[in-house]
Symmetry: C2
Subunit: 297 residues, 2 copies
């Protein structure tokens, strides 16, 4: 796998004016093989920060505004200083330019509370060439459903559980992927303790029911999906209806198509749920992926 | 605050023989102000690792075996390579020796899944002089109860939620402490969604009911408390009975004393729960803290 390229940011507060030397002067490319985080950074000791992963096509990051909105929203939910999006935009362009323009890739933005006892956040970017043939987009994945442990209506009254924030505390998400593999599946879909579809550990769930595309509404403690937003915009162009609503887990089995959506892998059709084969809509998969790959913003 | 002292470990597999140069040669003190973690370490990007914090008295780490047991148990729950405890013991001694012997302190041990795409875990230690007058031990804390969102009987069938593992994914624990502060309290106690006492974000709950010390049983998805183990051993010497059992949240209000126990702060008596003053047993607090401070192992 090509080595990821790391950039550290001198994090500026939101609203700070661009320095005379330009925002680019606040973005530092890290030499390969050099450590760049302190062992006392709260990212590493507490998972105390937020992140985004953007897809990159032709050196151009995709759905930037949606990711920036979510980064700022996650930061607010964690009571982190608001990110300076002007600075992050410049950093992201630098990171995108560092990737080979003829390959698909990704850029991770990470913002932590900083070194323990310090007074400013830590920001960094990781630009990666996708080491993937993206067969997921055509061959699809089998999934298992896993109990997320929370009721669907919990998040409204328990903000300290950080519903809707994309945090660096992803150990449970990673464990869910291992559990899926152990059960012979490719991925997992989290279900609330009272039986509603939530999200996958690294992606958003989309279903087609007749002429309607459906995604779980986000006030059940899940992330708003950036690729799902793009998919809904496309669906509306194509004359399909769209719905955000509660999705009982049973609907995973009798829909006309189920997908996981994410920024780098894009639309992955689901072929089986808990060992039961389900309907696969290859035509819509191909159409979605073609349209998502044709974006350049 | 004195700067923490960081040591990086060349992590050896469990069971590996000591190198000819000795385990000490695998422990590297990091120069102050030097970064030592890669930005792509899964500790920082996914909170994907485990940790322990040990109290240090006279340069001597406390309750080492209990912490090592829990470190190994957490690693197993996360399917990390088993830690080589012989190596960690040497590293911990080196870290303890680096602290001034006339001050109370702490050592954090952290073990992550390593750099993404790499093939070995990352291990490090952070030795810190306690910047604290430990008034918590005499003045106590007020707490609020916060819903942890999980039922008490969830963890048995959902191991992917990592119940009982002390992971680096602590964003929710940190958010709970901020919520407590927002409500004017000093700390928080998590309660299961069906009303049982669980644990505090960084400590174990202990109650006295008559001649019995009670702690929530750990099969409800909480950490076994290392300081609680010591407290139970002391209680048994002192002729008190001990119980691990389900603790309904109401018992926080009508017990003869409630404490939070942790490795550096030791026993903190709770003075109020959700704004209601509760009985404080200062005699037992003082006795517990004196005995815990008298330990040298």
């Amino acid at each position: 796998m090509p080595e990821p390229i790391v950039f550290m940011l001198d994090v500026a507060p939101a609203g700070a004016a661009e320095p005379a030397s330009g925002w680019a002067s606040t973005v530092h490319r890290v030499a390969p093989g050099e450590p760049s985080l302190f062992a006392t950074d709260l990212a590493a000791t507490r998972g105390d920060g937020v992140f985004e992963t953007l897809g990159v096509l032709d050196g151009c990051a995709q759905a930037v505004d949606a990711h920036f909105w979510r980064l700022a929203n996650s930061a607010e939910l964690l009571e982190l200083p608001a990110p300076n999006l002007e600075q992050w935009r410049v950093a992201m362009h630098i990171a995108g330019d560092a990737l080979p323009h003829d390959r698909q890739g990704g850029i991770k933005l990470a913002l932590s509370r900083g070194v323990e006892g310090g007074d400013r956040p830590t920001g960094w970017l990781i630009a990666t060439v996708a080491d993937d043939d993206f067969r997921n987009r055509t061959e699809g994945w089998s999934v298992v459903t896993l109990d997320r442990g929370y009721r669907h209506d919990l998040s409204a009254h328990a903000p300290w559980l950080l519903p809707g924030a994309k945090t660096l505390s992803y150990a449970v998400n990673m464990a869910a992927l291992r559990e899926a593999e152990r059960r012979g599946a490719d991925n997992a879909i989290f279900v609330s303790s009272d039986g509603y579809v939530m999200e996958a550990p690294q992606s958003t769930v989309l279903l087609r029911r007749g002429d309607t595309l459906v995604t779980p509404k986000t006030d059940i403690g899940i992330l708003p999906g950036t690729t799902q937003l793009s998919a809904f915009a496309l669906a509306q162009e194509w004359g399909l209806a769209t719905e955000d609503r509660l999705v009982p887990a049973d609907e995973l089995l009798d829909s006309d198509g189920v997908w996981l959506l994410s920024s780098v892998k894009l639309a992955t059709p689901i072929t089986a749920v808990d060992g039961h084969p389900i309907a696969v809509d290859r035509e819509l998969s191909d159409r979605l992926n073609a349209a998502l790959l044709a974006r350049r913003e």
